[in-house]
Amino acid sequence: MKGLFSRILIANRGEIAVRVIRACRELGISPVAVYSEADRQALHVRLADEAYLLGPALARESYLNIGRIIEVARRCGAEAIHPGYGFLSENPEFAEACVRAGLVFIGPPPEALRAAGEKTAAKELARKVGVPLVPGSEGPVSDQEAAELARKVGYPVVVKAAAGGGGKGMRIVRSAEELPSALQLARSEALAAFGDDSVYIEKYIDPARHIEIQVLCDGYGNCIHLGERECSIQRRYQKLIEESPSPVMDPDLRAQMGEAALAIVRAAGYVNAGTCEFLVGPDRKFYFLEVNARIQVEHPVTEMVTGVDLVAEQIKVAAGRRLSLSQKDVVQRGWAIECRVYAEDPDNNFLPSAGRILALREPSGPGIRVDSGLYPGQRVTIDYDPMLSKVIAWGRDRKEAIARMLQALAEYDVVGLKTTIPFHRAVLADPRFQAGEFDTNYVAKHWPGVILPEDLLLKAAVAAAVEYHTRPKVGSKPAVSPRAAESPWKLAGRWAALRGG
């Protein structure tokens, strides 16, 4: 059996960097962190064996700085780089730069990244191997071509960034009148996010469920799938809640979709972990969307039901090992749900929220897993993606997973900025969600904003009045006034001092 790496550089930040550190430790590999000036305090920096500054907060000069990352990796003696998700994870130039520098890129080879990671190329592959696609353009379109095609396939249509992912540069268009402004918006978002304003267009399946298949391939031609993840609860095409299995799945459809996913990745010469995303229509017909050629945010739900450590498999496969299991070894057991906690205001159109973590309590308990990079005192800025952490709940069935998740969310305190936790609590408690009846329009259709429990305001009034009444008096100023610029440690110290005095 081939030996694993002795040192891996993790070219990412936040919860996924922490996740990869954990996998490294388990495999006896020394993890190396890199960080930007904004992340000096971050958890991944403190948990790693070594940490190196990349540059300023701006991602382009730090987490996207290929030259600097390669330089650090060589200097610290890393043999491989794990890119996490986002940032450079699906960038073929980065994968090539790793290879040139004699480093192993923990992900697909550059050719496979190009063949599978780029949406139009991936669709070409799917077409070749006979996997159904949503009717639409076969590549980037001009505004005029878009208009003609939209007329042909019929409205509603959806405009998407050719180079994109994560729903950035994506717009639904319901009539010909809306098309010009939607194209303009999509192009400018695509340009800002990916440096490329090309877009393509396709028919909008409505109602649709977003279901994806996790695959794992080694360098010896072995490919397996690990079942599906249901990711239909989204806002602005960003996933908020994922689960495995999907409430609409049955063994037959799973086998069909699994085979379709494997056909595509095999045709791409794919190695390592990847995901094939599909839309499933009301008639249970499925359409291939794209390949995510990386570890995904929602990978833990698959890990919880299959017992397979996907990040460890990624590392082993990159080190030249064979997959540790075959298709017949893949068994889905129980049910897992993930809630992504974003620094966003669910009451205000999910607009990003910035602030400082004044108090933090992360949940635990039977079946609960929290993948988080959060720490008390953390300054959450708008420099990076607003996702803070993920709560994953496993249960023997969906009902138990939901019950555990509800308790975990009730325990989870992230104080100091707005988060999506109240959103998650409301959705998990919604009878429609509990019945498994939802589609990708769920948030737009059913999210009414945070509904405060009936007596919450009364309880708040009592707590606030009692706090005010018992507040130790220091001069005429309120004794406890945590100003934004103050360190929460200083604040906590003062609380302790006041309480003692």
Partner: protein, 174 residues
Amino acid sequence: MAEYLVRVGGQEFKVVVEEAPGGLKVRVGADEFFVEFLRLEAEPRLSLILKPALEAEGGRSLEAVWAGENRIYLDGVSLEVEVLPARLAALEQVRLGQEKASLQPVEIKAPMPGLVVRVEAEAGQAVRRGQVLVVLQAMKMENELSAPRDGTVREVRVKPGQAVEHGEVLAVLQ
């Protein structure tokens, strides 16, 4: 005995707090509790036990975090809160009465720091509730900021390409 006016979540509560053996007696409207109150040491967290009677062994447990001068966090929700001793509240009422003016102009503020991508309204323009006024880019997403009510745009204070801070006024609606 002290009387407070507490404004929270758009509602006002009159809360009467009285010293009682082993805690506080609190009256809000028809509800009355005996409150055992604790400030935690490690963080600005409060724990309250609301007992139905002075001699009761226990009661509802309630937890809150003081999340800033005028902010309280409980049950996962962060709320703007203002506590005024009743005497001050009465004075404020008088002042407010004097200042009561016609319909106030509404300021459209940046909900987070970002970059103005487009301005879709101009001064003097009549707009409907929900109509997009400014498109702001932050965290790689374009966010449409729309009019909170029908009105006329009095002024637009930003231009495309301009970086804005959290809370900065982008436009004023009349």
